[in-house]
Assembly symmetry: C2
């Protein structure tokens, strides 16, 4: 029986969260994961360079056009790469496309996402990127953080895997807060959650195999 779980990482931009995963793998912190594919919807995403440097197959799947047909076509191509690569777990690491309910339901508790707030605060529709930190500062919270969760059909609604709190500081701007939440929370809990999910899959598989032998 294989002793790792294949992982695909979906990206759109700079790929700092991808880098955190690559670094954790290089440091031996992801023994249950094998990084199989990086898929970007943007050909210019620097994340693709990071994947190449780390020796991970990198793919570009641009989304062409709008509407349901374009979405179906896009998701079919992403899905094919994921399946062919042998990935069982997919990480959304700064992936700026919405995945349809149809796609998400095919992979229950197999797609994970990182959200830059302590869900249920500042999450759901309309809360993405810098807007999350603008909302937190405008509300006046003194503690925010990040959440890694499974993706289901409700935006930011899937089961929470890990969360980490980060203090807001006097004089923070959305930009300084975004950076601190990345450094102190996202880059730590995303690789740790990925390892946990893959280790849990392997443990369940070993358990099933033992039961089969009985």
């Amino acid at each position: 029986m294989k002793d790792t779980v294949g992982v695909a990482i979906l990206v759109s931009g700079g790929g700092t969260n991808l880098q955190a995963i690559i670094d954790a793998k290089a440091a031996g912190q992801l023994p249950s994961c094998e990084l199989k594919a990086v898929i970007s919807n943007k050909p210019e995403a620097y994340a693709l360079r990071r994947a190449e440097k780390a020796g991970i197959p990198a793919y570009v799947v641009p989304k062409i056009g709008r509407g349901e047909a374009a979405q179906v076509e896009f998701e079919e191509r992403v899905d094919e790469i994921i399946r062919r690569s042998g990935a069982e777990v997919t990480v959304l690491a700064g992936f700026m496309c919405i995945l349809s309910e149809n796609f998400v339901k095919k992979y229950p508790e197999r797609i994970i996402n990182v959200h830059p707030a302590l869900i249920p605060s500042f999450c759901g529709k309309g809360f993405y990127g810098l807007r999350v930190h603008e909302a937190a500062l405008s509300y006046g919270v003194k503690v925010t953080g990040a959440t890694v969760h499974f993706v289901n059909e409700i935006p930011d609604g899937g089961r929470i895997i890990m969360q980490k709190a980060v203090d807001v500081k006097e004089g923070d701007t959305p930009e300084t807060l975004q950076r601190r939440v990345m450094e102190e929370a996202e880059w730590k809990i995303l690789p740790a959650s990925l390892e946990k999910v893959c280790a849990d899959i392997l443990a369940a598989r070993r358990n099933d195999a033992m039961n089969d032998q009985l």
Copy 2:
């Protein structure tokens, strides 16, 4: 000019948050505060004993009957004790009565409350006591905490003074989580916030006095 701000503390029950304030005062951590009065709506509240032991005048103001007239009568009596005691800042420390918009508006940014969650999570109408922790566990958050905020006419809606995060642990019940949030967050940030609010009032007063002399 006086160099402390008088504080009244409203309670209904055991008074562990009151005790945290009393202990902080005894430890010299509240140099800007003078504890003037403890007011309970329940004659049997153990918080009254804690006040007596600490030498703080303790008052019972039962709320008799329901409806607006009873509320007005109750609040007038509370208000009179607060004013006569010389308190300028009022702390709601496990006070289980709702204060009317009318009462609250008389003391803008002078009434502070502690809520056992990281606002805006698990707050507002219906979220009090153990229910807050039941909601957090049922949602599946991995981080919760406490918030000290000013009281305004919106439930848990006033400006946030301090927040502190607390990790949820595997196997937590609402009761174990409630206790940990008290110990690790509420008992720390409530006295610290009270001192900050009173110190800020004194600093503003000194500033005004200096400007008057110019």
